[in-house]
Amino acid sequence: MNASLEAGQSGRVPLEFSDHHGALSILGFWLFLASDVVLFSCLFAVYASYGMRTAGGPTPMQLFHYGPALAETLLLLCSSFACGLCVYQLRRRSTNGTTAWLAVTMLLGLGFVAMEAHEFASYVASGATWHKSAFLSAFFTLVGTHGLHVSFGLLWAASLLVQLRRHGLNAVSARKLYVFSLYWHFLDIIWVFIFSAVYLVGRIS
């Protein structure tokens, strides 16, 4: 690590890795993500065990609205792509480009959360509350935990927008932005698993 840090002085190492503490923070965040993977794995395992335990309530087949789920998927994938472009702009040291793409990331994420909230509300309105069956409890908890993560990410992104305006790009704000991008891509991957294991599997079983 030390060698790469020294190389950083000559500009070959990205800004966010340029000081030791920044690199350490990024390592720490990877560790957090590792642990979050375990959290979601447990929720996936619970969902997988509970998928058939509908207790007379709606089955996955009867419950899910596939249109909204697909739209949510597209929104989140696009948001993740925008986030990638944001980091690309960060590497180019363009404050404006970074800010703009971060805003796009946020807007798409906001659309995802709004659609998911609407989807949940329509399920509840049709009487499918999570009290009704173990399956519904597991569904709302797994997907809702992801939704809460995304919502927290939006708050985070908003604060980053303010920080970028206030401080511009420096080692600290670059590191924060990079860590946020890790988080955002991670949530995207989790969603891909949710879409496959929840919505698609619900379609075929």
Partner: protein, 654 residues
Amino acid sequence: MSLLGQLFPSSVLRPMELGSDGLIVLTVAGLLFVLTRYRKWGWLWREWITTVDHKKIGVMYLVASLVMLFRGGVDALLLRTQLAAPNSTFLGPEHYDEIFTTHGTIMVFFMAMPLMFALYNAVIPLMIGARDVAFPRLNAISFWVFAFAAILFNISFVIGGSPDAGWTAYAPLTELTFNPGVGENYYLLALLISGIGTLASGINFVATILGMRARGMTLMRMPLFVWSALVSSALILFAFPALTVALGLTMLDRLFGSSFFTIAHGGMPMMYVNLFWIWGHPEVYLLVLPAFGIFSEVVATFSRKRLFGYASMVGSLLAITLLSFGVWVHHFFTMGAGAAVNAFFGVSTMLIAIPTGVKIFNWIMTMWGGRVRMTVAMLWQMAFIPVFVLGGATGVLLAVVPGDYQFHNSYFMVAHFHTMLIGGVVFGFLSGLYYWWPKMFGYMLDERQGRWAFWLYFIGFWVTFVPQYLLGLEGMTRRMYTYSAGFGWTTLNQISTLGAFIMGAGFLVLVFNIVYSMLHGERDLTGDPWDGRTLEWSLPSPAPEYNFACLPTVAERDTWWEAKREGGAVAARLRAGDIGPIVMPKPTAVPFFIGLGFFVAGAGMVFSWWVVAAVGFAGVLALLVAGWFDYRDHEELSRDVVLRAEAAAGRVQA
């Protein structure tokens, strides 16, 4: 239910609880008086509440842990008193159930875990030649979140009622249908909140050990305690989320009406048991591995000899870590998993005996050819070996699946896990405490009193738990609040109770030892009272706030031992030219208030006061967001200050 009825149900108005109320009020009033009378509020705020210094955080963990050991120990004595006679009416069944629940929960989460973090904080950065942990603020947040969670858990018995479903809290007994009070809410919220702090500590120490080691300290040159802290912190990362899910889903069931572990609506109580033990087994290893690390340090230092078989010690740590995730079903062989699953998990459990056996032999071989000094730290290490071998042997018997069908949840099993947790974890941490005490506080613990504490505790341990093994063979199952005389269990229970009180006496002597030594103990002026081998002993006791004026360079294992051999008494001296300014993390009150916010949120959720809960969570969130905008969390200690401090300690070459 009226507010008063909710806060003070009949279970908190029993004489024992009211008496505790009185003691708590008196203690708090006394503390407030002393702080005010001696004008210590500013000192408390500046030096402790807002500190981000890992050494001070370690001390706070230690204090909290000893207080919790007292509470958990009193619980144990109450349980043993109740069981000393058949058909005893000393405690009613409700009372007994509450006390065994709090005993287990406190000992695991609020005694053992913080004691582990106390030692990590006290010495890990020193051992790897670092100035602090990777994330000092996060470290303070971890502590305050833990501390407020512990307070939340502990007030349950005087406000609202204690949890009473055992520390394992198996569903569906914890569901509202069977357990309508707020006690289980306390259990769930306190553990969920303290889990946040634990996870943050896990991340912090993995990042610290991977990213902040001194130049030249490769992984295979790290002291064994650092290795054990690394794997144990990694275990936290991969195990604690399972507990969070198990407890979180139970909480959703109780507070928000979901149907995870209910009997109705397709809920599956056994899912809880799986999730709990997927966390639970790694949990016991993440407690005992640091103890293994301590033993490795202590045995090498007090045998004046290199640790035997370093590579296989590291390898067996890693092997135990990996295996620990593959054995959880052995906690419920008797839940109908089927022969194939049971056989698999039985054998995987036995496999753990292999790396553990290797470690035991290596410790003995470390003494072989050395010069064994019988200090108190070493006594705890030596006591550990026979106790842990006994625990391991009975553990193998429990892993024999057909045998487990007869031992499961009996006192044989109770005795087994107390053997492991006391003989392994408590002996280990006490060994570490006596060993590193001078480094933490600058004075030695009195060895003579330490021996008294040791012998009382050690003898008490055998007298307590050997009868419990036998009671298991007599068919006594755990968590029975009483038994009738006809079973023939009376004598063994009486002996066991006697042993528990001997252990209690040992604890009192330990506390006396600490207080006495604080006042009269021998100061450690050398910084290296044991003739140590690792970097922490190259520093003065206690270490200065910046730890190392110059970051050391490491060329081999036992680096301080080697340096002393080559450099003699001047090995610690620095060149003035090498000293420069040092960047230090700034003190902050944010961690304290984050802990407080979680406390408010937790209390609100316990009583379903949603406004209070929302205020608490909003406070936490606001503090977090405010922290994101704080770009100046460090300050610089000038070269002059450092140089003066080092020169005053006589550590600068002329």
